[in-house]
Amino acid sequence: MNITKQLDAKGLACPMPIVKTKKAIDTIESGEVLEVLVTDKGALNDFKAWAQAGGHTIIEQKEEAGVLYFYIQKV
């Protein structure tokens, strides 16, 4: 997987992870992948719903040591 951009949103509470992710995704091209690191557990459902609403694809997600990793491919 080619990661174009990385966003560290660890320690941030809702709504900031999504706010920052939206800004970051606006800076990459269609088909490129953004990696986001989040610790807010509420992000799990929010990222899914946000990506769905915007047409983006979460091509992978995982949890390691309390950190959620999302790999989002821009529509």
Binding site: A13, C14, P15, M16, V19, K22, N45, W50, A53
Partner: protein, 375 residues
């Protein structure tokens, strides 16, 4: 425009006083569908906050200017953001401090009635989750029944009333919410009772709640009497307080009945449920006032905010008490049940003392509606 901050207590007043309110819920559609703040006269608009990042202009026409508007989210962060955006557009709005998390935790103590010799019975209504706890007060002493985990609400209330908590009961091993019973007992030196049949896997000391047990509260003659009434769990026990009130736990609700499946033994327990509802309860006085451990929908609230109804009225009107055919009844309470409560297996483990999650984890487990009933 200034942004107002409302507490869960403010919202509870709106619900109980039957007032109008417009709620802009900015959580996910799924979360909103699953669980929201219910009010008789509330109106709702659900738009996830992430659809409003570019501005709120599009939704302005949908937000009334002639009634109070409350923005709600899971914790509060997103609702503050959206409230600020609306405020910048000249709208006066409020947000709910602590979001649905604080709503889920809030308890409103409401007096149900007076007992003999100056005693009182209080119902603690957890509006956000539908849990109902009780405190019987008399002669400087108190008994607490089915306390939820916000134990300071009960200990502080007892302090305010100048009474000492002597007895703490759980009608059964709860699966939808974490019991505060053990903690209250430890903090006050009170005795903690649980039905033995529900306590087989308990890892801490307790006192057996047995059929026919009677305790007196205070010097006066307020009896709290236990009545074995299995079906929701195999140990489920009801209480008759002051020969006037019937605390039914999760066996009988106002507009529904208990479900027998939360310990994975629906087929085994359905017969007990039938026996309790169609035989044991039938032998009680119809003038007893039923006080359940849950409500499911806001329509079950009385005008004063309490949840209670005469037993005879329930025999007449509660669908679950009027299924003549046993096979139909069996099918109703074992097939097509609603989804089980969030994390119910973990919650049972917590109530057995087997796991001790921290406060945030407990909050997560209790997210969502209680779902203990079959309608």
């Amino acid at each position: 425009m200034a942004i107002n901050t409302w507490t869960a207590a403010d919202v509870a007043r709106k619900v109980i006083d039957n007032e109008e309110l417009f709620i802009l819920d900015v959580r996910n559609a799924d979360a909103f569908e699953d669980w929201k703040i219910d009010g008789h006269k509330f109106e709702y608009l659900n738009i996830p906050y992430f659809e409003l990042l570019d501005g709120v202009e599009e939704i302005l026409p949908k937000i009334p200017t002639n009634k109070e508007v409350l923005v709600v989210c899971a914790k509060e962060g997103s609702s503050i953001m959206v409230a600020e955006m609306l405020s910048e557009e000249g709208r006066e709005v409020a947000y709910l401090a602590g979001g649905m998390k604080s709503w889920s935790m809030y308890l409103e103590p409401i007096k149900v009635g007076d007992l003999e010799s100056g005693g009182e019975l209080y119902q603690f209504v957890r509006l956000g989750k539908g849990c109902l706890s009780y405190m019987v007060i008399s002669g400087g002493e108190a008994a607490v029944i089915d306390a939820v985990r916000f134990t300071e609400v009960f200990t502080n209330f007892a302090k305010e009333k100048g009474v000492e908590i002597k007895h703490v009961f759980d009608t059964h091993l709860h699966a939808d919410h974490i019991s505060g019973g053990r903690t209250i007992a430890e903090a006050t030196g009170a005795t903690y009772y649980l039905p033995e049949k529900d306590a087989e896997e308990l890892v801490f000391d307790y006192t057996k709640l047995e059929d026919g047990l009677t305790v007196q509260i205070g010097a006066s003659k307020i009896d709290v009497g236990a009545l074995y009434s299995p079906g929701h769990t195999i140990g489920s026990t009801s209480f008759v307080v002051d020969a006037k009130y019937l605390l039914t736990g999760d066996i009988l609700f106002i507009d529904s009945i208990g479900r027998p499946d939360l310990a994975g033994l629906a087929e085994d327990w359905v017969g007990d449920l039938r026996e309790t509802l169609y035989n044991r309860y039938r032998q009680l006085a119809e003038d007893l006032i039923v006080l359940p451990a849950h409500f499911m929908i806001i329509d079950e609230l009385n005008v004063d905010g309490t949840v209670s109804k005469r037993l005879g009225d329930l025999f007449a009107n509660n669908h679950g008490l009027n299924v003549e055919d046993e096979a139909v009844f069996r099918s109703m309470v074992t097939d097509n049940l609603p989804p089980q409560p969030n994390a119910y297996q973990q919650i049972r483990q917590v109530n057995m003392g087997k796991i001790t999650p921290d406060n945030d984890e407990q909050t997560e487990m209790e997210i969502g509606p209680n779902r203990c009933a079959v309608r």
